[in-house]
Protein backbone atom coordinates (compact mmCIF):
# COMPACT_ATOMS: atom_id res chain seq x y z
CA UNK A 1 0.00 0.00 0.00
CA UNK A 2 1.04 3.58 -0.51
CA UNK A 3 0.86 6.14 2.27
CA UNK A 4 1.29 9.88 2.19
CA UNK A 5 3.18 11.29 5.16
CA UNK A 6 2.23 14.94 5.52
CA UNK A 7 4.66 16.97 7.60
CA UNK A 8 3.13 19.77 9.62
CA UNK A 9 5.28 22.13 11.66
CA UNK A 10 5.42 25.70 12.88
CA UNK A 11 7.31 27.43 10.07
CA UNK A 12 8.68 30.17 12.29
CA UNK A 13 10.87 27.52 13.92
CA UNK A 14 13.01 27.32 10.78
CA UNK A 15 13.77 31.02 10.48
CA UNK A 16 14.74 31.26 14.14
CA UNK A 17 17.42 28.58 13.70
CA UNK A 18 21.09 29.37 13.15
CA UNK A 19 22.72 28.47 9.85
CA UNK A 20 24.46 25.49 11.47
CA UNK A 21 21.21 24.25 12.98
CA UNK A 22 19.47 24.54 9.62
CA UNK A 23 22.21 22.53 7.94
CA UNK A 24 21.98 19.89 10.61
CA UNK A 25 18.21 19.78 10.14
CA UNK A 26 18.50 19.35 6.39
CA UNK A 27 21.10 16.61 6.88
CA UNK A 28 18.66 14.68 9.05
CA UNK A 29 16.06 14.76 6.28
CA UNK A 30 18.65 13.72 3.69
CA UNK A 31 19.57 10.73 5.87
CA UNK A 32 15.91 9.82 6.38
CA UNK A 33 15.23 9.99 2.65
CA UNK A 34 18.26 7.81 2.01
CA UNK A 35 17.04 5.25 4.56
CA UNK A 36 13.63 5.11 2.83
CA UNK A 37 15.30 4.62 -0.54
CA UNK A 38 17.60 1.89 0.76
CA UNK A 39 14.57 0.06 2.19
CA UNK A 40 12.75 0.38 -1.13
CA UNK A 41 9.96 2.31 0.58
CA UNK A 42 10.49 5.73 -1.01
CA UNK A 43 8.11 6.72 -3.80
CA UNK A 44 8.44 10.48 -3.74
CA UNK A 45 9.02 13.46 -1.48
CA UNK A 46 9.23 17.23 -1.56
CA UNK A 47 9.65 20.17 0.70
CA UNK A 48 7.19 23.01 0.16
CA UNK A 49 7.80 26.76 0.18
CA UNK A 50 6.40 28.67 3.14
CA UNK A 51 2.65 28.95 3.56
CA UNK A 52 3.03 32.65 2.75
CA UNK A 53 3.44 31.60 -0.89
CA UNK A 54 0.12 29.69 -0.92
CA UNK A 55 -2.75 30.63 -3.20
CA UNK A 56 -6.14 28.93 -3.22
CA UNK A 57 -8.37 28.50 -6.24
CA UNK A 58 -11.94 27.38 -6.61
CA UNK A 59 -14.49 27.70 -9.38
CA UNK A 60 -17.88 29.10 -8.38
CA UNK A 61 -20.62 29.56 -10.96
CA UNK A 62 -18.13 29.07 -13.74
CA UNK A 63 -15.84 31.80 -12.44
CA UNK A 64 -12.57 31.00 -10.85
CA UNK A 65 -11.98 32.60 -7.47
CA UNK A 66 -8.38 33.06 -6.52
CA UNK A 67 -7.44 33.91 -2.97
CA UNK A 68 -4.13 34.75 -1.41
CA UNK A 69 -3.23 32.42 1.46
CA UNK A 70 -3.67 28.79 2.47
CA UNK A 71 -6.92 26.79 2.62
CA UNK A 72 -6.96 26.97 6.42
CA UNK A 73 -4.89 29.04 8.80
CA UNK A 74 -3.33 26.76 11.39
CA UNK A 75 -0.63 26.97 14.01
CA UNK A 76 1.35 24.27 12.21
CA UNK A 77 1.55 24.36 8.45
CA UNK A 78 2.02 21.71 5.79
CA UNK A 79 5.71 21.94 4.99
CA UNK A 80 6.39 18.85 2.93
CA UNK A 81 5.49 15.27 2.25
CA UNK A 82 6.80 11.78 1.69
CA UNK A 83 4.97 9.27 -0.46
CA UNK A 84 5.99 5.80 0.69
CA UNK A 85 5.26 2.17 -0.01
CA UNK A 86 4.54 0.02 3.07
CA UNK A 87 2.90 -3.37 3.65
CA UNK A 88 0.45 -1.91 6.19
CA UNK A 89 -0.31 0.88 8.62
CA UNK A 90 2.11 -0.38 11.28
CA UNK A 91 5.08 -0.11 8.93
CA UNK A 92 3.90 3.29 7.68
CA UNK A 93 3.59 4.54 11.27
CA UNK A 94 7.07 3.23 12.04
CA UNK A 95 8.46 5.27 9.12
CA UNK A 96 6.52 8.33 10.27
CA UNK A 97 8.00 8.01 13.75
CA UNK A 98 11.52 7.99 12.29
CA UNK A 99 10.94 11.13 10.24
CA UNK A 100 12.79 14.15 11.66
CA UNK A 101 9.52 16.09 11.26
CA UNK A 102 7.92 13.99 13.99
CA UNK A 103 10.37 15.59 16.44
CA UNK A 104 9.49 19.21 15.70
CA UNK A 105 5.95 18.92 14.39
CA UNK A 106 3.14 16.51 13.55
CA UNK A 107 2.93 13.94 10.81
CA UNK A 108 -0.41 12.94 9.36
CA UNK A 109 -0.37 9.49 7.77
CA UNK A 110 -2.98 8.82 5.09
CA UNK A 111 -3.39 5.72 2.93
CA UNK A 112 -3.53 6.43 -0.78
CA UNK A 113 -6.83 5.49 -2.42
CA UNK A 114 -6.22 2.40 -4.49
CA UNK A 115 -7.60 3.28 -7.91
CA UNK A 116 -7.13 -0.13 -9.55
CA UNK A 117 -10.88 -0.69 -9.39
CA UNK A 118 -11.26 2.19 -11.85
CA UNK A 119 -8.46 0.86 -14.03
CA UNK A 120 -10.45 0.79 -17.30
CA UNK A 121 -11.35 4.46 -16.82
CA UNK A 122 -7.95 5.59 -15.60
CA UNK A 123 -5.66 3.83 -18.03
CA UNK A 124 -6.12 5.46 -21.41
CA UNK A 125 -3.10 3.76 -22.96
CA UNK A 126 -4.86 0.40 -23.18
Amino acid sequence: MQYLLMLYADESGWSSMTKAEQEQGVAAYVAYTQALKTAGAWVGSNRLQDVGTATTVRVVDGKSQVLDGPYVETREQLGGYYLIEAPGLDEALAWAARCPGAGHGTIEVRPVWDMTEYEPVCDRTK
Binding site: P87, G88, L89, D90, L93, E117, P120
Partner: protein, 416 residues
Protein backbone atom coordinates in the same frame (compact mmCIF):
# COMPACT_ATOMS: atom_id res chain seq x y z
CA UNK B 1 -31.32 -29.56 21.21
CA UNK B 2 -33.70 -27.91 18.79
CA UNK B 3 -32.23 -26.35 15.63
CA UNK B 4 -32.59 -22.74 16.79
CA UNK B 5 -30.92 -23.62 20.07
CA UNK B 6 -28.06 -25.18 18.13
CA UNK B 7 -27.82 -22.00 16.06
CA UNK B 8 -27.65 -19.90 19.26
CA UNK B 9 -24.98 -22.11 20.78
CA UNK B 10 -22.92 -22.14 17.59
CA UNK B 11 -23.28 -18.37 17.28
CA UNK B 12 -21.75 -17.94 20.71
CA UNK B 13 -18.84 -20.19 19.92
CA UNK B 14 -18.24 -19.46 16.26
CA UNK B 15 -19.43 -15.98 15.31
CA UNK B 16 -16.14 -14.21 15.99
CA UNK B 17 -14.13 -17.06 14.57
CA UNK B 18 -16.00 -16.87 11.27
CA UNK B 19 -15.78 -13.06 11.09
CA UNK B 20 -12.08 -13.10 11.93
CA UNK B 21 -11.31 -15.74 9.35
CA UNK B 22 -13.25 -14.01 6.57
CA UNK B 23 -11.91 -10.54 7.38
CA UNK B 24 -8.28 -11.54 7.88
CA UNK B 25 -7.36 -11.30 4.19
CA UNK B 26 -9.58 -8.47 3.04
CA UNK B 27 -9.56 -6.52 6.35
CA UNK B 28 -13.20 -5.81 5.56
CA UNK B 29 -14.86 -6.45 8.93
CA UNK B 30 -18.25 -5.05 7.89
CA UNK B 31 -18.46 -7.30 4.84
CA UNK B 32 -17.38 -10.32 6.90
CA UNK B 33 -20.07 -9.54 9.50
CA UNK B 34 -22.71 -9.27 6.78
CA UNK B 35 -21.69 -12.59 5.27
CA UNK B 36 -21.68 -14.35 8.66
CA UNK B 37 -25.08 -12.89 9.60
CA UNK B 38 -26.51 -14.11 6.31
CA UNK B 39 -25.05 -17.55 6.95
CA UNK B 40 -26.74 -17.69 10.37
CA UNK B 41 -30.03 -16.56 8.80
CA UNK B 42 -29.67 -19.34 6.23
CA UNK B 43 -29.01 -21.83 9.04
CA UNK B 44 -32.19 -20.77 10.83
CA UNK B 45 -34.16 -21.40 7.64
CA UNK B 46 -32.36 -24.56 6.59
CA UNK B 47 -31.63 -26.58 9.71
CA UNK B 48 -35.18 -26.92 11.09
CA UNK B 49 -36.21 -28.44 7.72
CA UNK B 50 -33.18 -30.50 6.79
CA UNK B 51 -31.72 -31.18 10.19
CA UNK B 52 -28.53 -29.82 11.75
CA UNK B 53 -25.34 -30.56 9.85
CA UNK B 54 -22.74 -32.77 11.50
CA UNK B 55 -20.30 -29.87 11.60
CA UNK B 56 -22.34 -26.68 12.00
CA UNK B 57 -19.31 -24.39 12.01
CA UNK B 58 -18.00 -25.74 8.71
CA UNK B 59 -21.48 -25.49 7.18
CA UNK B 60 -21.70 -21.85 8.26
CA UNK B 61 -18.23 -21.12 6.95
CA UNK B 62 -19.05 -22.55 3.52
CA UNK B 63 -22.22 -20.47 3.29
CA UNK B 64 -20.58 -17.33 4.71
CA UNK B 65 -17.72 -17.60 2.25
CA UNK B 66 -20.16 -17.91 -0.65
CA UNK B 67 -22.11 -14.91 0.64
CA UNK B 68 -18.93 -12.93 1.00
CA UNK B 69 -17.93 -13.62 -2.61
CA UNK B 70 -21.44 -12.68 -3.77
CA UNK B 71 -21.24 -9.51 -1.72
CA UNK B 72 -17.95 -8.57 -3.27
CA UNK B 73 -19.32 -9.09 -6.78
CA UNK B 74 -22.20 -6.79 -5.90
CA UNK B 75 -20.10 -4.09 -4.35
CA UNK B 76 -17.31 -3.74 -6.81
CA UNK B 77 -16.35 -4.36 -10.35
CA UNK B 78 -13.17 -4.58 -12.36
CA UNK B 79 -9.71 -5.63 -11.48
CA UNK B 80 -9.73 -5.20 -7.70
CA UNK B 81 -12.49 -7.75 -7.40
CA UNK B 82 -10.67 -10.23 -9.55
CA UNK B 83 -7.64 -10.08 -7.28
CA UNK B 84 -9.70 -10.33 -4.13
CA UNK B 85 -11.80 -13.16 -5.49
CA UNK B 86 -8.63 -14.86 -6.60
CA UNK B 87 -7.37 -14.54 -3.04
CA UNK B 88 -10.52 -16.07 -1.59
CA UNK B 89 -10.64 -18.86 -4.14
CA UNK B 90 -6.99 -19.67 -3.56
CA UNK B 91 -7.57 -19.78 0.17
CA UNK B 92 -10.54 -22.00 -0.37
CA UNK B 93 -8.61 -24.54 -2.40
CA UNK B 94 -5.62 -24.65 -0.11
CA UNK B 95 -5.48 -24.04 3.60
CA UNK B 96 -9.09 -23.36 4.43
CA UNK B 97 -10.80 -26.07 2.39
CA UNK B 98 -8.69 -28.62 4.19
CA UNK B 99 -9.30 -26.87 7.43
CA UNK B 100 -13.03 -27.17 6.97
CA UNK B 101 -12.66 -30.85 6.21
CA UNK B 102 -10.71 -31.24 9.38
CA UNK B 103 -13.59 -29.54 11.17
CA UNK B 104 -11.19 -26.93 12.48
CA UNK B 105 -11.31 -23.38 11.18
CA UNK B 106 -8.07 -21.55 11.98
CA UNK B 107 -8.73 -19.24 14.91
CA UNK B 108 -7.81 -15.70 13.89
CA UNK B 109 -9.78 -14.01 16.65
CA UNK B 110 -6.61 -12.87 18.40
CA UNK B 111 -5.53 -11.00 15.25
CA UNK B 112 -9.02 -9.49 15.08
CA UNK B 113 -8.78 -8.35 18.72
CA UNK B 114 -5.43 -6.70 18.03
CA UNK B 115 -6.89 -4.97 14.97
CA UNK B 116 -9.86 -3.68 17.01
CA UNK B 117 -7.52 -2.32 19.70
CA UNK B 118 -4.94 -0.91 17.29
CA UNK B 119 -3.51 2.43 18.45
CA UNK B 120 -4.84 4.00 15.23
CA UNK B 121 -8.40 3.20 16.40
CA UNK B 122 -9.92 5.71 18.81
CA UNK B 123 -9.62 4.25 22.33
CA UNK B 124 -13.28 4.90 23.14
CA UNK B 125 -14.61 2.73 20.31
CA UNK B 126 -12.29 -0.27 20.82
CA UNK B 127 -14.49 -2.06 23.36
CA UNK B 128 -17.70 -1.61 21.31
CA UNK B 129 -15.83 -2.76 18.21
CA UNK B 130 -14.71 -5.98 19.90
CA UNK B 131 -18.17 -6.65 21.26
CA UNK B 132 -19.58 -6.33 17.77
CA UNK B 133 -16.92 -8.03 15.65
CA UNK B 134 -16.07 -10.90 17.99
CA UNK B 135 -19.39 -11.49 19.74
CA UNK B 136 -21.90 -10.19 17.20
CA UNK B 137 -23.67 -7.74 19.55
CA UNK B 138 -25.73 -5.23 17.59
CA UNK B 139 -25.15 -1.49 17.72
CA UNK B 140 -28.39 -0.96 19.65
CA UNK B 141 -27.40 -3.28 22.51
CA UNK B 142 -23.91 -1.82 22.66
CA UNK B 143 -25.26 1.74 22.55
CA UNK B 144 -27.59 1.18 25.48
CA UNK B 145 -24.78 -0.34 27.55
CA UNK B 146 -22.48 2.59 26.77
CA UNK B 147 -25.27 5.15 27.36
CA UNK B 148 -25.30 6.57 23.86
CA UNK B 149 -27.72 6.61 20.95
CA UNK B 150 -27.82 3.63 18.56
CA UNK B 151 -27.33 5.97 15.58
CA UNK B 152 -24.20 7.54 17.03
CA UNK B 153 -22.82 4.14 18.06
CA UNK B 154 -23.57 2.67 14.63
CA UNK B 155 -21.81 5.55 12.93
CA UNK B 156 -18.71 5.30 15.11
CA UNK B 157 -18.52 1.53 14.62
CA UNK B 158 -18.86 1.98 10.87
CA UNK B 159 -16.11 4.58 10.80
CA UNK B 160 -13.75 2.34 12.81
CA UNK B 161 -14.33 -0.61 10.46
CA UNK B 162 -13.81 1.63 7.45
CA UNK B 163 -10.52 2.75 8.95
CA UNK B 164 -9.34 -0.84 9.55
CA UNK B 165 -10.01 -1.63 5.90
CA UNK B 166 -8.80 1.53 4.19
CA UNK B 167 -5.84 2.50 6.36
CA UNK B 168 -4.25 -0.94 6.21
CA UNK B 169 -4.51 -1.83 9.90
CA UNK B 170 -2.95 -5.28 10.05
CA UNK B 171 -4.68 -8.48 11.16
CA UNK B 172 -1.65 -9.78 12.94
CA UNK B 173 -0.31 -10.60 16.35
CA UNK B 174 2.34 -7.95 17.10
CA UNK B 175 5.99 -8.87 17.22
CA UNK B 176 7.46 -9.77 20.61
CA UNK B 177 8.98 -6.33 21.24
CA UNK B 178 5.62 -4.64 20.70
CA UNK B 179 3.37 -7.29 22.17
CA UNK B 180 3.22 -5.99 25.74
CA UNK B 181 2.25 -2.46 24.68
CA UNK B 182 -0.29 -3.58 22.15
CA UNK B 183 -1.73 -6.16 24.53
CA UNK B 184 -2.40 -3.34 27.01
CA UNK B 185 -4.76 -1.84 24.43
CA UNK B 186 -6.66 -5.11 24.09
CA UNK B 187 -6.84 -5.60 27.88
CA UNK B 188 -7.98 -2.04 28.52
CA UNK B 189 -10.76 -2.36 25.94
CA UNK B 190 -12.04 -5.63 27.40
CA UNK B 191 -11.85 -4.21 30.90
CA UNK B 192 -13.70 -1.08 29.77
CA UNK B 193 -16.56 -3.29 28.57
CA UNK B 194 -16.56 -5.06 31.93
CA UNK B 195 -16.47 -1.82 33.91
CA UNK B 196 -19.29 -0.37 31.83
CA UNK B 197 -21.46 -3.36 32.73
CA UNK B 198 -20.27 -3.26 36.32
CA UNK B 199 -21.27 0.36 36.84
CA UNK B 200 -24.83 -0.93 37.22
CA UNK B 201 -24.20 -2.67 40.55
CA UNK B 202 -27.82 -3.61 41.10
CA UNK B 203 -27.71 -5.61 37.92
CA UNK B 204 -31.18 -4.33 37.15
CA UNK B 205 -30.33 -3.15 33.66
CA UNK B 206 -30.16 -6.31 31.54
CA UNK B 207 -28.10 -4.81 28.73
CA UNK B 208 -25.40 -3.74 31.14
CA UNK B 209 -25.44 -6.85 33.32
CA UNK B 210 -25.01 -8.91 30.16
CA UNK B 211 -22.05 -6.75 29.23
CA UNK B 212 -20.04 -8.06 32.20
CA UNK B 213 -20.71 -11.60 30.95
CA UNK B 214 -19.66 -10.67 27.42
CA UNK B 215 -16.49 -9.06 28.74
CA UNK B 216 -15.75 -12.15 30.83
CA UNK B 217 -16.18 -14.25 27.70
CA UNK B 218 -13.66 -12.05 25.87
CA UNK B 219 -11.23 -12.21 28.79
CA UNK B 220 -11.47 -16.00 28.90
CA UNK B 221 -10.98 -16.13 25.15
CA UNK B 222 -7.90 -13.94 25.42
CA UNK B 223 -6.43 -16.14 28.16
CA UNK B 224 -7.13 -19.24 26.06
CA UNK B 225 -5.34 -17.66 23.10
CA UNK B 226 -2.46 -16.17 25.12
CA UNK B 227 -2.10 -18.53 28.10
CA UNK B 228 1.37 -17.27 29.02
CA UNK B 229 0.60 -13.54 29.30
CA UNK B 230 0.53 -12.68 33.02
CA UNK B 231 -1.47 -9.48 32.57
CA UNK B 232 -4.21 -11.26 30.62
CA UNK B 233 -4.40 -13.80 33.46
CA UNK B 234 -4.38 -10.96 35.99
CA UNK B 235 -7.24 -9.16 34.28
CA UNK B 236 -9.39 -12.29 34.17
CA UNK B 237 -8.63 -12.87 37.87
CA UNK B 238 -9.62 -9.28 38.66
CA UNK B 239 -12.93 -9.64 36.80
CA UNK B 240 -13.71 -12.96 38.46
CA UNK B 241 -13.04 -11.49 41.91
CA UNK B 242 -15.43 -8.62 41.22
CA UNK B 243 -18.08 -10.84 39.66
CA UNK B 244 -17.87 -13.36 42.51
CA UNK B 245 -19.32 -10.71 44.82
CA UNK B 246 -22.12 -9.59 42.52
CA UNK B 247 -24.93 -11.14 44.58
CA UNK B 248 -23.55 -9.77 47.84
CA UNK B 249 -23.54 -6.17 46.66
CA UNK B 250 -27.26 -5.77 47.34
CA UNK B 251 -29.30 -6.64 50.41
CA UNK B 252 -32.59 -8.52 50.13
CA UNK B 253 -34.36 -5.16 50.13
CA UNK B 254 -32.13 -3.89 47.30
CA UNK B 255 -29.90 -1.70 49.45
CA UNK B 256 -26.28 -1.19 48.50
CA UNK B 257 -23.89 -3.20 50.70
CA UNK B 258 -20.24 -2.13 50.83
CA UNK B 259 -17.52 -4.77 50.77
CA UNK B 260 -16.82 -4.44 54.49
CA UNK B 261 -20.41 -5.38 55.35
CA UNK B 262 -21.09 -8.03 52.73
CA UNK B 263 -22.34 -11.51 53.64
CA UNK B 264 -19.38 -13.72 52.81
CA UNK B 265 -21.69 -16.68 52.23
CA UNK B 266 -23.13 -14.91 49.19
CA UNK B 267 -19.77 -14.84 47.45
CA UNK B 268 -19.20 -17.25 44.59
CA UNK B 269 -16.47 -19.52 45.98
CA UNK B 270 -15.74 -21.26 42.69
CA UNK B 271 -15.08 -17.94 40.96
CA UNK B 272 -12.83 -16.74 43.77
CA UNK B 273 -10.84 -19.95 43.67
CA UNK B 274 -10.47 -19.73 39.90
CA UNK B 275 -9.26 -16.14 40.28
CA UNK B 276 -6.74 -17.13 42.93
CA UNK B 277 -5.39 -19.98 40.79
CA UNK B 278 -5.02 -17.68 37.77
CA UNK B 279 -3.23 -15.10 39.86
CA UNK B 280 -0.86 -17.66 41.39
CA UNK B 281 0.01 -18.93 37.92
CA UNK B 282 0.49 -15.37 36.60
CA UNK B 283 2.93 -14.66 39.42
CA UNK B 284 5.12 -17.57 38.32
CA UNK B 285 5.57 -15.90 34.91
CA UNK B 286 7.63 -13.15 36.48
CA UNK B 287 6.16 -9.99 34.95
CA UNK B 288 4.06 -7.82 37.25
CA UNK B 289 1.56 -5.29 35.96
CA UNK B 290 -1.51 -3.22 36.73
CA UNK B 291 -4.10 -5.96 36.42
CA UNK B 292 -2.19 -8.48 38.51
CA UNK B 293 -1.73 -5.88 41.26
CA UNK B 294 -5.40 -4.95 41.20
CA UNK B 295 -6.37 -8.61 41.33
CA UNK B 296 -3.96 -9.12 44.23
CA UNK B 297 -5.71 -6.30 46.08
CA UNK B 298 -9.07 -7.93 45.50
CA UNK B 299 -7.56 -11.14 46.77
CA UNK B 300 -6.35 -9.37 49.93
CA UNK B 301 -9.80 -7.82 50.52
CA UNK B 302 -11.44 -11.22 50.17
CA UNK B 303 -8.94 -12.87 52.49
CA UNK B 304 -9.48 -10.18 55.11
CA UNK B 305 -13.23 -10.57 55.06
CA UNK B 306 -13.07 -14.36 55.10
CA UNK B 307 -10.53 -14.83 57.87
CA UNK B 308 -11.06 -11.61 59.81
CA UNK B 309 -7.29 -11.19 59.70
CA UNK B 310 -6.12 -7.78 58.70
CA UNK B 311 -2.73 -7.13 57.23
CA UNK B 312 -3.01 -3.58 56.03
CA UNK B 313 0.71 -3.28 55.37
CA UNK B 314 0.37 -5.75 52.50
CA UNK B 315 -2.50 -3.78 51.01
CA UNK B 316 -0.64 -0.51 51.31
CA UNK B 317 2.40 -2.09 49.66
CA UNK B 318 0.25 -3.29 46.76
CA UNK B 319 -1.22 0.19 46.40
CA UNK B 320 2.30 1.67 46.47
CA UNK B 321 3.33 -0.56 43.58
CA UNK B 322 0.14 0.19 41.67
CA UNK B 323 0.53 3.93 42.22
CA UNK B 324 4.13 3.85 41.00
CA UNK B 325 2.90 2.06 37.87
CA UNK B 326 -0.19 4.10 37.05
CA UNK B 327 0.13 7.46 38.80
CA UNK B 328 -3.66 7.38 38.97
CA UNK B 329 -5.34 9.65 41.54
CA UNK B 330 -8.01 6.97 42.06
CA UNK B 331 -5.30 4.53 43.17
CA UNK B 332 -3.85 7.23 45.45
CA UNK B 333 -7.29 7.64 47.01
CA UNK B 334 -7.72 3.90 47.63
CA UNK B 335 -4.25 3.81 49.09
CA UNK B 336 -5.22 6.58 51.51
CA UNK B 337 -8.25 4.55 52.62
CA UNK B 338 -5.97 1.58 53.35
CA UNK B 339 -3.62 3.85 55.26
CA UNK B 340 -6.55 5.00 57.41
CA UNK B 341 -6.89 1.41 58.66
CA UNK B 342 -3.18 1.09 59.21
CA UNK B 343 -2.13 4.45 60.64
CA UNK B 344 -5.44 6.06 61.50
CA UNK B 345 -7.83 8.54 59.84
CA UNK B 346 -5.70 11.65 60.49
CA UNK B 347 -2.78 10.30 58.42
CA UNK B 348 -5.19 9.36 55.65
CA UNK B 349 -6.88 12.77 55.70
CA UNK B 350 -3.55 14.44 55.12
CA UNK B 351 -3.14 12.45 51.90
CA UNK B 352 -6.73 13.04 50.85
CA UNK B 353 -6.36 16.77 51.39
CA UNK B 354 -3.24 16.78 49.25
CA UNK B 355 -5.19 14.90 46.56
CA UNK B 356 -7.77 17.69 46.45
CA UNK B 357 -5.19 19.75 44.59
CA UNK B 358 -5.48 17.21 41.78
CA UNK B 359 -8.58 18.52 40.01
CA UNK B 360 -9.28 15.12 38.46
CA UNK B 361 -11.01 13.87 41.61
CA UNK B 362 -13.30 16.87 42.08
CA UNK B 363 -16.24 15.08 40.45
CA UNK B 364 -15.40 11.56 41.60
CA UNK B 365 -18.07 10.36 44.03
CA UNK B 366 -15.87 7.85 45.93
CA UNK B 367 -13.39 10.65 46.69
CA UNK B 368 -16.06 12.68 48.50
CA UNK B 369 -17.51 9.61 50.22
CA UNK B 370 -14.07 8.54 51.45
CA UNK B 371 -13.30 12.07 52.56
CA UNK B 372 -16.60 12.30 54.41
CA UNK B 373 -16.03 8.99 56.20
CA UNK B 374 -12.53 10.04 57.29
CA UNK B 375 -13.78 13.43 58.50
CA UNK B 376 -16.49 11.69 60.52
CA UNK B 377 -13.88 9.46 62.13
CA UNK B 378 -11.88 12.53 63.20
CA UNK B 379 -15.14 13.98 64.66
CA UNK B 380 -15.26 16.81 62.10
CA UNK B 381 -18.98 16.17 61.68
CA UNK B 382 -19.89 19.45 60.03
CA UNK B 383 -17.28 19.00 57.29
CA UNK B 384 -18.25 15.34 56.97
CA UNK B 385 -21.89 16.28 56.39
CA UNK B 386 -20.88 18.75 53.65
CA UNK B 387 -18.62 16.20 51.96
CA UNK B 388 -21.47 13.66 51.99
CA UNK B 389 -23.65 16.26 50.28
CA UNK B 390 -21.21 16.44 47.38
CA UNK B 391 -20.87 12.64 47.21
CA UNK B 392 -24.66 12.18 47.14
CA UNK B 393 -25.00 14.87 44.50
CA UNK B 394 -22.48 13.17 42.23
CA UNK B 395 -23.89 9.61 42.46
CA UNK B 396 -26.16 8.37 39.66
CA UNK B 397 -27.20 5.04 41.23
CA UNK B 398 -30.23 5.63 43.51
CA UNK B 399 -29.33 2.68 45.78
CA UNK B 400 -25.85 3.99 46.41
CA UNK B 401 -27.32 7.44 46.96
CA UNK B 402 -29.61 6.01 49.64
CA UNK B 403 -26.66 4.26 51.25
CA UNK B 404 -24.70 7.51 51.39
CA UNK B 405 -27.71 9.35 52.79
CA UNK B 406 -27.85 6.77 55.60
CA UNK B 407 -24.20 7.44 56.43
CA UNK B 408 -24.82 11.17 56.33
CA UNK B 409 -27.78 10.87 58.71
CA UNK B 410 -25.50 9.25 61.32
CA UNK B 411 -23.12 12.20 61.04
CA UNK B 412 -25.92 14.73 61.28
CA UNK B 413 -27.17 13.05 64.49
CA UNK B 414 -23.79 13.67 66.08
CA UNK B 415 -24.06 17.36 65.23
CA UNK B 416 -27.04 17.93 67.46
Amino acid sequence: MRPHEVVDAVARRSYGKLVAFLAADTRDVAAAEDAVSEAFAAALAHWPVHGCPANPEAWLMTVARRKSIDGMRHRRSGEAVTTQLQMLVENQTSESAEAIHDAEIPDKRLALLFACAHPAIDAGIRAPLMLQAVLGLDAKTIASAFLTSPEAMGKRLGRAKQKIRAAGIPFAIPARDELADRLDGVLDAIYAAFAEGWSDPGGTDVARRDLTDEALFLARLLVALLPQEPEALGMLALMLHADARRRARRSASGDYVPLAEQDVLLWNVAMIEEAEALLRYASTLGRIGRYQLEAALQSAHVERRRTGRTDWTVEVQLYDALLALSGSPVVALNRAVAIAEWKGPAAALEIVNALAADGRLAQYQPYWAARAALLARTHAYRDARDAYDVAIGLERDPDVRRFLQGKQAVVVDRLI
